[in-house]
Subunit: 187 residues, 2 copies
């Protein structure tokens, strides 16, 4: 690669390619079509034997310093559950066994689909990975509700709680306005 | 764009970008990093009031001439359910109301995640879209089992059948070897 590496190149022109029905992002330098597809975020609500839940304090933007579930972009050639386990390791050095899907959240504004799994921590030995300032295990009443990084973290924690002791459940989807209002009163 | 549009340009060199931990695909011409992420396929098992299931005979490769569920790549800025409804319209001119998630299939070999929804046809008026040779509504015993396009079509149809009359179900995941063997004997 030349010094152009740092120039503002790459796909940056919007046009409808031949045979297609919508605009795609094209590179005027090389003709490459950058299909932009929704991204999958995989994560987990991972609990230790005593029910405490693994949370990570973000060391990176966005929402640096706020608490989140171990989650991140799914990579190629892995399964969704394997991706969730990889993220738990990368962010919290946690070994987990993933269970059923807890929630599937659509975030069309940013073209993101989040798949959050139930998971069991195989050990309480955890440590901050490079993208975490600290990590911790939290009982329900210890969860830092006012310092959660994203709405979906809040949602997934609530849905996890509502499913305790239940079996074959449909995964949660984006909460209804009623659910959001109910949860707000519970804070 | 110049005539280079048709040249074999675009990201084509594998290297680890600064600050990353794995190889990405780079364009040596412009420095663009093409993050390759798993793609989401959204689709549905859509039934009419009499229980018949919508299938589409593919007019395009791969598996041209074989029958499939209405499904395709999720686009940006849509929800998973909206994407499934869009695909039903594009491939079968079918109006559907999507219900809960029926199945989530991991296909890491091709970095694909398939999200298949339960859906209800709002009308029995259907017609082949540009990517379908023909479309049809099939009772269970009429399904062309020997001419299905992909294993996941087979799986989703079986899982739909097993869930008839049941309520709040966890979505299906990739079938176990036992399930595959059982289904094979049912053909």
């Amino acid at each position: 690669m030349s010094d152009d590496t740092l120039s503002p190149g790459g796909p940056r022109v919007r046009a409808i390619p031949p045979g297609e029905d919508r605009e795609r992002l094209l590179c005027p330098d090389c003709g490459y079509i950058a299909y932009q597809n929704p991204l999958i975020v995989v994560g987990s609500v991972a609990t230790w034997e005593d029910g405490r839940i693994l949370l990570c304090r973000r060391a990176i933007e966005p929402r640096k310093g706020f608490w989140t579930l171990p989650a991140g972009y799914m990579e190629e050639r892995e399964s969704t559950a394997d991706g969730a386990a990889r993220e738990a390791w990368e962010e919290a050095r946690a070994r987990i066994a993933t269970g059923p899907l807890l929630a599937i959240y659509d975030i069309p504004r940013i073209s993101q689909v989040q798949l959050i799994f139930h998971a069991r921590l195989l050990s309480a030995d955890i440590a901050a990975g490079p993208e975490s300032e600290e990590v911790g295990l939290f009982a329900w009443e210890e969860i830092p509700w006012g310092e959660l990084a994203f709405p979906t973290v809040h949602w997934a924690l609530r849905e996890h709680r509502e499913r305790l002791g239940r079996g074959d459940c449909a995964p949660a989807v984006n909460p209804t306005p009623d659910a959001l209002a109910r949860w707000a009163t519970m804070l």
